[in-house]
């Protein structure tokens, strides 16, 4: 360093605020994940549902909780908390309106509680996709809306903070971690318009009895407008860490600041007008539009391929610096003993398979082979439940000590935890993929379905076996988190954990200016959404048929 940059010391209060996000995130994961193994055990005939029947009425109620708590709550709370830190640490300044962010956060919490009530009372057993005309209690829709609105408000807090920083720092490239956080939030704001419109114009008034019917195909179209970018909302914070933090943790630098930024812009640009790839088997949408979305989906795979390159190159730099030699020696030279690093590396490895599966799913007619089969469940347990979740677990291995000032409880166990998840998931998801190719449907307690042939039983057993290993993995994670957060084992003054922010190999100031300018990218994003969705949505709205009563 020629000149040492001033760093911003995150205050106790800010740390507490971020920590609260993590508290709710991990609480959701601990409850939501317990249903995963129950489902997995049911597959091979070990049906534990009768034992929990006094509280949870059915496989499907549990599955709804599993999807909502894991995929929606764990992710959203972890992400908003983590991004708050990357905003203030990257921009080196506090939030301009901390109260605004607090209002946003507590709105999310109120929303969470409001959603939880009908879920626990078995009055919202509609799965996390809440496809009408299955109808939930109106509290469920109100609660979801509040969670989304709360996250919007937290996002506004980020944007105002960025604006203030920009005034103070004209012409300076936005620090990468904050840049990535801002794009993730912008993506989220645009993406959630779909479900917001779905709930406010159809589902909520319908559940309150103000309108008699809904248009289920229009509802699906709104839902998947949100549903695909939702997966990037989950994934981008993990990418933020892989690009902007992991290289530092591994002892290297970010290989290409420019390509990292380009990838994030492309995600913003392309991740919304691709939602029809979840609706290839739907009626009511012309094949031409489905194909356009398929082609754009290949487009959004492009920034992920860039990510693969840049992250591997950054890690190779790190591994070679640490003395790794030969074609793969650098892999072994990486700090596998650091639980945060190893968890994220393992998450990244499984994501390669998740990505290949994703391209398969997106391949238009090939989707007929896998749509709504167990293959899909195998796929997203590699992506959201591993690439994202295991990365977040890895991040929390430094984040929780950083926020609390406590020593990580048993780091070796934390390393083992990552490996347990990795191994369990390989078994689980491989079996799920195979079952899907054999034709096994998802969202079904296969252990008691009448049509299940004998030849599936080995794979069903592997699902249960993988699920048991994953159960150990999730329990270990929660125990490590609890023991670390409520520990008396304080880190000494010279052992303090710092936020790992990787430097780029080259001065980010040399990154082309168009990669740090919002307006052209936002205009292009809106234009592409209008092209990709406009005509078909307009047609559906002009021919809207509110003919489905609730069930």
């Amino acid at each position: 360093m020629l000149i040492t940059e001033p760093t911003y010391q995150v205050t106790k209060e800010e740390k507490r605020f971020i920590g609260l996000h993590l508290f709710f995130a991990i609480l959701a994961l601990s409850i939501g994940s317990l249903f995963g193994p129950l489902q997995a055990f049911q597959y091979s005939g070990l049906d534990l549902y009768p034992y929990i029947e006094p509280i949870f009425k059915s496989y499907y109620q549990g599955l709804t909780l599993h999807g909502v708590l894991n995929a929606l709550v764990w992710t959203t709370f972890f992400i908003t908390g983590f991004l708050t830190l990357t905003i203030i640490k990257g921009l080196k300044r506090p939030l301009v309106y901390p109260t605004l962010n607090k209002v946003g956060f507590w709105t999310m919490v109120v929303g969470l509680v409001t959603t939880a009530i009908p879920l626990l009372l078995d009055e919202a057993t509609v799965l996390y996709t809440f496809y009408p005309p299955l109808q939930a209690s109106s509290l469920f829709y109100v609660g979801l809306t509040l969670v989304v609105v709360g996250s919007w408000i937290e996002g506004y807090g980020f944007f105002f903070t960025y604006r203030a920083w920009r005034k103070e720092n004209p012409g300076v490239r936005t620090p990468f971690v904050s840049f990535a956080a801002l794009i993730t939030m912008a993506l989220w704001q645009g993406a959630t318009l779909g479900v917001a419109v779905e709930i406010l114009t159809m589902l909520l008034p319908w559940s309150l009895g103000w309108i008699d019917g809904v248009d289920p195909e229009l509802a699906r179209t709104y839902f998947w407008f949100t549903g695909h970018p939702l997966v990037y909302f989950w994934l981008l914070p993990a990418y933020l860490s892989w690009y902007g933090m992991l290289p530092k943790q591994a002892g290297g630098k970010l290989f290409s600041d420019s390509l990292a930024r380009l990838a994030f812009w492309l995600f913003l640009l392309l991740s919304i007008p691709v939602g029809f790839h979840h609706q290839f088997t739907d009626p009511g949408i012309p094949q031409g539009w489905k194909y356009i979305h398929a082609a754009l989906t290949y487009g959004v795979a492009f920034p992920s391929l860039l990510t693969l390159f840049t992250v591997v190159a950054s890690l190779e730099l790190a591994g070679r610096k640490r003395g790794g030699k030969g074609l793969f020696g650098w892999v072994r030279a990486l700090p596998w003993g650091d639980p945060s690093v190893s968890a994220q590396l393992l998450a990244g490895i499984l994501f390669i398979f998740g990505g290949i599966g994703g391209i398969t799913n997106a391949s238009y007619n090939v989707n007929l082979v896998v749509h709504n089969t167990a293959w899909i469940v195998g796929h997203f347990h590699l992506t959201v439940a591993t690439a994202v979740t295991l990365s977040f677990m890895g991040i929390s291995y430094w984040l929780v000590p950083y926020l609390t000032g406590n020593r990580l409880w048993k780091p070796k166990w934390a390393v083992a935890q990552g490996w347990i998840w990795f191994v369990g998931m390989i078994i689980f998801s491989n079996a799920m993929h195979v079952l899907g190719l054999l034709g096994a449907p998802r969202r079904t307690p296969l252990g008691s379905a009448p049509y299940v042939p004998e030849e599936w039983s080995g794979h069903l057993f592997r699902v249960s076996f993988g699920g048991a290993i994953l159960l150990v993995g999730v329990i270990l994670y929660v125990v490590i988190m609890v023991r670390t957060a409520w520990s008396k084992d304080k880190l000494g003054p010279d052992e303090q954990v710092e936020v790992p922010i990787a430097e780029a190999l080259h001065d980010p100031q040399r990154t082309p200016a168009f990669l740090d300018r919002w307006r052209p990218w936002l205009i292009a994003t809106v234009a592409l959404i209008l092209i990709g969705y406009g005509p078909q949505l307009l047609d559906m709205l002009l021919n809207i048929q509110l003919t489905s009563p609730g069930f």
Binding site: D215, L259, P283, L305, F309, L368, P441, R443, E503, D507
Partner: protein, 181 residues
């Protein structure tokens, strides 16, 4: 202001970086990725639109509250399989909690069948094992897809969308009978 002098240990690619904002190895990867993805897009496009391996499209709309009593669905039980040309059949099917109507279908080997399926209550799925038939069934919409059955045997069809507490029991059977010869 970040450090300009790259650290001693950093390898080759770093130096060539001076040229532009993309490193040459990166640029190759860039090109490779684009070619690969364009090739995929072309391949599925050709398979779908030129060779006829199609997904369902925008077929027709119906009123889920009355469709069961209207032609041609009203005749679904008495006349489950209609031959429209030699070897070509049409099935008008209704999916409902928790069965298909018709729930058993029989056709001769080598037949081509087109399904027109809709729901009178919630969403359902229809996947006929070992065929290309995989449909999301949405009330108010008609899902249409065609398949050719060249091998005799029984093919279960299964509901793959959660439709209520009886969902796991929702299935039917398609039987393809061996030809006379």
């Amino acid at each position: 202001m970040t450090d300009e002098t790259s650290s001693a240990g950093s390898p080759g690619p770093a130096e060539t970086h001076e040229e532009g904002w993309i490193d040459p190895t990166e640029r190759n990867w860039f090109r490779f990725s684009i070619v690969l993805l364009v090739a995929f897009a072309v391949a599925v496009g050709v398979a779908g639109f030129a060779l006829g391996f199609q997904v369902p499209g925008d077929e027709a709309r119906v009123d889920p509250r009355t469709v069961a009593d209207e032609a041609p669905w009203s005749d679904r039980i008495d006349n489950p399989v209609r031959e429209v040309a030699p070897g070509e059949y049409v099935v008008y099917m209704i999916a409902r909690q928790f069965r298909y109507e018709p729930n058993t279908i029989t056709v001769p080997e080598g037949s081509t069948i087109t399904f027109y399926v809709t729901s009178i209550d919630v969403q359902h799925g229809l996947k006929i094992q070992d065929t290309n038939i995989n449909l999301q069934i949405v009330p108010g919409q008609v899902s249409k897809l065609t398949t050719t059955l060249d091998k005799a045997g029984t093919y279960p069809f299964i509901c793959h969308e959660f439709c209520g507490l009886g969902h796991a029991g929702m299935f039917g059977t398609l039987t393809v009978e061996a030809g006379e010869g």
